[in-house]
Symmetry: C2
Subunit: 147 residues, 2 copies
DNA sequence: ATTGCAAATGCAAATTATTCGCATTTGCAA
DNA sequence: TTGCAAATGCGAATAATTTGCATTTGCAAT
């Protein structure tokens, strides 16, 4: 694993296949959790690259625009990014340790239809995030989170 | 309308009843859409007040902590705030004009239960946002948003 | 292969939302 | 009425993201 090329994907989407884009897309593809820009930045530094932060932002913007990557503003401050394999993702985030897990199942496709009728909006997408305590933090908290 | 007091609410929640809090809470209560900090700021300026932005941020933090107000980071940049009447709210936002509408119905209470079993998280809350074109913008776009 | 140019990158400075430090004011309990 | 903790105002500080511009680079056409 590691060294495959995404050149065709880029070509297909009408964008140039640059080294930086290969690296960013590769990192996102290999990750099993959504990544922040900062995580991508340090992740690629370790792989001995000196890539500009703004370049990462711009690359991600392009990926999102092309529908290759999903951007989610889950927490108040930083956005996280992940590849759109097949279909969008929802998330569950631990409010104690910050861990973010992606969920594949989407329980509201049907509701979306009903909502379109009700509101007369043309709905193009949605985001759903759950907050709570992950199994590990749940144990730690045991017996003290009443109020 | 306009000039009722929320002093009891504040007392009940163990926070002082200040003029600034009355104003912010009043504005949120009277609004039928979620407001940004900036909107609150200018909204209260017009009512001839010189309130500090940081005061508004702090007041809202307290309201959120006390469960009086719901904060939602819907768009990439600014957060919006709204009073928690009875139960939380979801949103639908127009990606053309930026209009945000609050939805009362929550279609995922049941799913949340299932998800708790599946993930072993203890889920405490969730956020759901829909994106699309509002009726007005839908008309304007008529016939041109295919690709 | 070589070349030319638009697209992409790097860097630093700018922007924007939000937070923080600290001196001053103010609600409210005694 | 008084005292003091809580709240406010102001400006400065942060932190994430964006932008301007000069330089580099992918790639299509030669």
């Amino acid at each position: 694993m590691e060294s495959k090329s995404y050149t065709e994907i880029f070509k297909k989407n009408g964008i140039k296949a640059t080294k930086q884009r290969e690296l960013v897309f590769g990192l996102l593809t290999d990750s099993d959790v959504p990544l922040t820009v900062e995580e991508i930045y340090v992740g690629l530094m370790e792989k001995e690259k000196n890539m500009s932060l703004s370049t990462i932002y711009r690359i991600l913007d392009v990926f999102v625009e092309k529908g290759l990557v999903q951007k989610s503003n889950i927490t108040d401050n930083k956005a996280v990014y992940e590849v759109v394999g097949m279909g969008h993702k929802h998330h569950i985030i631990c409010i104690s340790c910050g861990k973010i897990i992606a969920l594949d199942h989407c329980p509201i496709k049907e509701y979306e239809k009903a909502l379109e009728k009700e509101t007369e909006f043309e709905i193009t997408s949605h985001k759903l995030v759950f907050f709570g305590y992950c199994p590990e933090c749940k144990k730690k908290n045991e017996g003290d989170h009443g109020k």
